[in-house]
């Protein structure tokens, strides 16, 4: 690195270092909050320990209790139960520098995940908000200092006085005795080095964990073969391991579909969308009560097993109670496919009545085109913009991207991807879609999904004479209903 290189780095770090971090709305919290009211009976299944070997009476950790209370919908209750069952390890390790003390109070580690709780205090023992800590390093190693690469993904959640560090997939290593290394290099505006090494072990939780075979296979009408391999039970979660692959007929169909979207996707040619699907599962008990989904908490990305989308995947959920019987239910297959929607209209006609287009079993109704509608939270403020409101009746369509335009291409202004809607006027001018809404209203009498879409464009300042709206890709959701009983570990007497 030359001297100039160093100066560039230094300059950028200096400029960026002066910025105060703004607050951001977390999409998952918005959704969790909205869903809370409609799911009052959603997660009433109480998990208990799957092993009764450890009958320790341990009071509920206030730290984890605060954690559980902190969440919108009471999620991560399973951590609380794991603590109640004695799987949490008290740590109370601390380091003090520059008047600030960083302390790790507790670690809960099982083969599915590791959660460590930390706090920061000043010289007067007042709590400093955990987000003031700039974390410089998080690593899990074995006792010899070898980094366990499986745990490389970590996340931070802050709530009031506590920070919650979570690491994924410790169970993929065979090591039982591990060390968490946690380092920060700045608290508030004070630079320093706060480094902690915390030994912990997975022995107790590994003993209380069990993997059981399932071995059930199903092929969806769309040609996706699903093989449920096994279920893993652990103190903080359960997880089903399954494999997916396409039938030969489905592979050919996917190749045809890829040709239709050629040039519109951000991938090298030829590109076939073998992997571009999602399976929606849920687990329910004998009363039909749903068990909470934990797939994201457990970080379960797919792994390629072979070519053509043959992959190994996992579905994670809250630990199961031996007092109930459970079924894994496959609800739907969601797949992105070429799906053409095209409607032209004269905006001034909308003054009289909506413009309705019926074509190939699809109905689109343009309701209005207005300017200066209220802004949504993701939009720039105080700028004139157009809003087009349309209603669509489309079979199986679960989602159409509102906007996803990548504008950059190598040294040109060419648009290389346009996954969302395209708005074009009579002169060929394209107005970028810069925001909008997507609302599923329900089903019409023909069984089609009734969808309300709002498209906003900050590029459009005047009413054009003619407009065309087009969209070429959509997500289709195919309902499925495959149910498989889940094997449970036998209780130890």
């Amino acid at each position: 690195m030359t001297n100039l290189d160093k100066q560039i780095t230094q300059t950028l770090k200096k400029v960026a270092g002066e910025l105060d971090q703004p607050n951001f709305v977390m999409p998952d919290q918005v959704v969790a909050y909205k869903r809370k009211r409609s799911r009052l009976l959603g997660t009433l299944v109480l998990p208990v320990s799957i092993s009764c070997a450890l009958l320790l009476t341990i009071s509920v950790s206030p730290t984890f209790a605060a954690y559980v209370k902190s969440l919108f919908d009471g999620s991560d209750q399973e951590l609380q139960y794991a603590v109640q069952e004695g799987f949490s390890q008290k740590v109370n390790a601390s380091v003090t520098e520059q008047g600030y003390t960083l302390e790790i109070e507790e670690i809960l580690a099982d083969p599915m995940r590791i959660v460590a709780v930390y706090s920061i205090k000043d010289q007067q023992k007042n709590f400093i908000r955990p987000e003031k800590l700039q974390i410089s390093n998080v690593e899990v190693t074995d006792l010899k200092g070898n980094v366990i690469k499986e745990t490389k993904t970590y996340g931070i959640k802050n709530h009031e006085n506590y920070g919650y560090l979570s690491l994924k997939k410790p169970g993929e290593t065979e090591e039982q005795k591990l060390v968490l290394q946690f380092e920060g290099n700045q608290i508030d505006s004070v630079k320093g080095n706060w480094a902690l090494k915390i030994p912990f072990d997975l022995e107790k939780t590994s003993m209380a964990s069990k993997e059981l075979p399932i071995d059930k296979t199903y092929t969806t009408p769309q040609g996706l073969q699903i093989n449920l391999n096994s279920i893993m039970h652990s103190p903080t979660a359960a997880r089903v391991d399954y494999e997916t692959k396409w039938t030969e007929e489905a592979k050919n169909r996917l190749v045809q579909e890829s040709k239709q979207v050629k040039g519109k996707v951000d991938s090298a040619d030829p590109y076939v969308r073998y992997d571009d699907f999602k399976l929606n599962f849920h687990v329910e008990n004998e009363k039909g009560e749903k068990v909470k989904d934990l797939t994201r908490e457990l970080d379960t990305p797919r792994k390629a097993v072979g070519e053509y989308g043959h992959s190994n995947r996992k579905y994670g959920f809250a630990p199961l109670s031996p007092d109930h019987q459970y079924m894994l239910v496959l609800d739907s297959l969601v797949k992105t496919e070429p799906y053409e929607l095209d409607v032209q209209f004269e905006p001034k006609q909308l003054a009289d009545k909506p413009v309705r287009v019926d074509k190939d079993g699809k109905t689109i109704e343009i309701m209005s085109l207005t300017f200066d509608e209220p802004l949504n939270e993701a939009s720039p403020k105080n700028e004139k913009h157009a809003t087009i409101l349309l209603e669509a009746y489309l079979k199986d369509i679960s989602y159409i991207k509102i906007a996803d335009t990548i504008l950059m291409d190598d040294d040109t202004d060419k648009i290389i991807n346009r996954f969302g809607w395209t708005i074009k006027d009579e002169k060929g001018k394209i107005y970028n879609v810069t925001g909008g809404d997507f609302k599923m209203i329900g089903k019409d009498e023909q069984g089609r999904n009734h969808i309300r879409i709002k498209l906003q464009s900050y590029d459009m300042k005047e009413l054009p004479q003619k407009l065309s709206l087009t969209s070429e890709l959509a997500e289709k959701s195919y309902d499925l209903n495959w149910k498989v009983p889940l094997p449970m570990p036998k209780e130890e007497k």
Binding site: P27, S166, E377, K401
Partner: protein
């Protein structure tokens, strides 16, 4: 009936622990967006949009493709920030609109050379600037930057080369002017 979700749309059965995944990268994401856009509120909007987009398309993130979550998220942030620059104004107009003398951040750059570097970075086109920021500030590799920006590695190299040249020229010009001024030549032109 499904609920109404604001833009963009979270997927059904979507992640509930998205924050845990994204939180470690938010700080630098905002800074990268700011360094590209040069506007606190637009950078904030860019990152907020990126959060929605990342949340919505999280299931598409595939670790086995060799991209870290950080790089995947930063790709979205970078493009959102670049779109924000575009949305604001065309590149040339945007460059003209920057008045280096009015930039309060310059007061924290004590050394004159740092100020020159920052001005040079501000005056670059967004595509050169984004390469510089990802390379020098975020310390991504050339290969990672190529993936993030959706260009060839050679293109990244040439953009960085050009950017370095622009910065070096800016420093040189300033140096020459200084020398001339010190000699009093300009005074008697």
């Amino acid at each position: 009936m499904k609920e109404n979700h604001h833009f963009p749309i979270p997927k059904e059965g979507g992640p509930v622990d998205f924050e845990t995944l994204v939180q470690p990268h938010l700080n630098s994401a905002f800074r990268v967006a700011f360094l590209i856009v040069h506007d606190y509120h637009l950078a904030q909007d860019a990152v907020q949009e990126a959060l929605w987009e990342a949340y919505q398309s999280l299931y598409r993130y595939d670790e086995r493709k060799g991209t870290s979550f950080r790089a995947w998220f930063m790709k979205i942030v970078t493009h959102r920030a670049l779109n924000m620059v575009r949305r604001k104004k065309k590149t040339e107009e945007y460059m003209d609109s920057i008045d280096p003398g009015q930039n309060p951040l310059e007061s924290i750059l004590q050394k004159e050379k740092e100020q020159q570097i920052w001005r040079a970075i501000q005056m670059m086109t967004p595509k050169h600037r984004s390469a510089v920021i990802l390379y020098y500030y975020e310390e991504f590799s050339i290969a990672e930057i190529a993936k993030i920006l959706g260009v060839f590695e050679g293109t990244v190299k040439s953009r960085l080369h050009k950017a370095r040249k622009l910065i070096a020229e800016k420093i040189e010009v300033k140096k020459e002017t200084q020398v001339i001024t010190e000699m009093g030549v300009i005074m008697h032109d």
